[in-house]
């Protein structure tokens, strides 16, 4: 298997699917130049009719995606930074998430909205949010958050074959990370988690960008004799609660790691669901590691204080592991 970068994997998925399915069109800001790299080469290969560089007009873009999808196209709508989802949010919340439902199932809305989310690069509060919880709350949107290049390819291809609005939220600044990417027709079903590390003492669920620090935390905890079952949900809608609960059934302990603000985060939702469905499995309180309810600051020192890292994950695991009597 070849090693590729995250953006190459996504680019490969889009290229293969556009080759396979002539109804796919791309709209988005600077998609012809592709500063992110994920739409590079598409306009040369598929032409300016199918690949449309748009003005910076998220209101019309996010809604055009809905109109085009409802009338026979399959649409990739690239919103660039996740915070620009907010400027295009009306059509996402009021049309994309609801149109099929309001119309009693008369339309399918095959849309892939793409954006980079999260902090860590000193671009400050308006370019660093992780807004997947807000999208989760809409109900009619699927959300894919790949943590590795291989997953990114498989999930992007599956998303491009799904007949619903799907958000592919890529961890910002991590497009250059290398990983093994299967060649050709490789898809990962939406809603299927992966256990990235097997373990019996504590379950850690890490979302998107948080998988990387969680892997580091697993190594540190292993050195202390604590084995972690690390679950990467890969899609937060649909969420693979069966996989999470199966892991918690073995470990009896859960820490959820999320780069969103803690209030009403995906971590909160996972914690609530596990408490509701698996209270009898738990030997210790559930821990959440997330951004406190502050905006993401600019200065690297401040940003580091806010965004969860391996050390915070280790601390959270130790807190519940010790209280439950797991040997250190």
């Amino acid at each position: 298997m070849a090693k590729k970068r995250m953006v190459q994997a996504i680019n490969e998925a889009i290229t293969e699917e556009m080759e396979r399915d002539g109804s796919i069109i791309v709209i988005g800001e600077d998609v012809h130049i592709s500063p992110v790299g994920d739409t590079r080469g598409l306009i040369e290969r598929f032409g300016a009719s199918r690949v449309r560089n748009t003005p910076i007009s998220e209101s019309v873009m996010s809604g055009m995606a809905v109109g085009a999808a409802a009338t026979g196209s399959r649409v990739i709508c690239h919103l660039f930074y996740g915070n620009f989802i907010y400027t295009g949010f009306d059509a996402i919340a009021n049309q994309a998430a609801k149109l099929r439902y309001m119309l009693g199932g008369q339309v399918k809305l095959p849309i892939l909205y793409m954006a980079m989310i999260g902090g860590g690069r000193s671009v400050a509060a308006q370019h660093s949010d992780s807004m997947h919880p807000m999208l989760m709350n809409l109900g009619g949107i699927k959300i894919v958050m790949p943590a590795s290049p291989g997953d990114a390819k498989g999930l992007a291809k599956a998303a491009l074959r799904d007949d619903n609005p799907v958000f592919l939220l890529q961890a910002a600044g991590r497009g250059g990370e290398l990983g093994e990417v299967p060649e050709g027709d490789y898809t990962i079903p939406l809603g299927k988690a992966e256990e990235k590390r097997a373990g019996d003492d504590v379950t850690v669920v890490a979302i998107g960008s948080m998988v990387k620090p969680a892997l580091k935390a697993c190594d540190e905890l292993a050195a202390r004799g604590i084995s972690v079952s690390l679950i990467d949900p890969r899609t937060v809608v649909p969420m693979d609660y069966d996989a999470i609960l199966a892991s918690v059934a073995r470990t009896g302990r859960l820490v959820v790691v999320d780069e969103a603000r803690k209030s009403c985060s995906a971590a909160s939702e996972i914690a609530a669901t596990v408490a509701e469905r698996g209270f009898h499995l738990l030997k210790a309180p559930i821990g959440r590691v997330a951004v406190e309810d502050v905006a993401i600051p600019y200065s690297p020192v401040l940003e580091k204080a806010v965004i969860p890292d391996a050390a915070r994950i280790v601390d959270a695991v130790l807190k519940i592991a010790v209280s439950g009597g797991v040997p250190r």
């Binding site: 055009m64 649409v75 059509a91 009021n94 008369q106």
Partner: protein, 324 residues
Amino acid sequence: MSAQEISSERLLQMYGRMFRIRLVEERLAQVQAAGELPGPVHLYIGQEAIAVGVCAHLSDQDWICSTHRGHGHFLAKSDEFQRMVAEVYGRATGVCGGKGGSMHVADVSKGILGANGIVGGGIALAAGAALSAQTRGTRNVAVVFFGDGAANQGVLFEALNVAALWSLPLILVCENNGFSEFSPTATVTAGEIWNRATPFGVPGRSVDGNDVREVWAAAGAAIERARSGGGATLLEMRTYRLRGHVEAEKSFLSKSYRSDAEVEERREREPLRLAVAALHGAGVTADAIAKLEEKERVAVQAAFEYAAESPWPEPGAAFEHMFA
């Protein structure tokens, strides 16, 4: 295409559809007042010529997006009006299975992407439908109906910009009915709405929206232009909302925003009255008009009976159709 070219047969046909819309809306006002409808209704009375004059040029493969005042657009483009009425009644037989109601009546098989509860919500959707029609190499067009209130939403300018850049087959039909909800248009809208297209190089026209012949002619020219790759047009249709923003509004408004005398004055030029005069001028007999009206009365009566007798949805249906 000029208003003079219209045949008397076409005019009569369009009048019949306008009359149907009027009957349905008047009946909806009655049943709403009688408490038979689950939710609010925003009626199209006074604006019928616009939907009918525009939709006369459209096929089932052309798309329309509409407004919260959307019954008229639906009725102008689809014959499925029994199921539309059933939708407003919230019944299982409704065209959306009772999930959408008055503000979301849609018939995708007829090219109706739906009424829309968000002011200006249809503009981007129609731009997308136009984009889709263009990239697939069809000659189909997308029409968005929106009110003068929506002309103050930023998305209109974003849409005009991309429509101009890409020569989208998009017709933007602004129905200026004099009121943005409860505010007279002049108090919330600067300048001329038709002229908002001009800076983008998109043709803009002001049209007498109460004269179905003028609407038909202006829409025909804009639609033909769009079909042949000429791009978008903005048509401002001057009309007047004879009913309130929403039925029963007097029950919650603390003061009025217009006088009864004003409404009565504007009624003199209401579209059905103008259409009947035009029919007489074209030599259509009063007998022929009466016969058509009677046929519509019977059909509308049947539609309301169908709706009122239709079953409510199964509660379990509330959990279907979020995802395909």
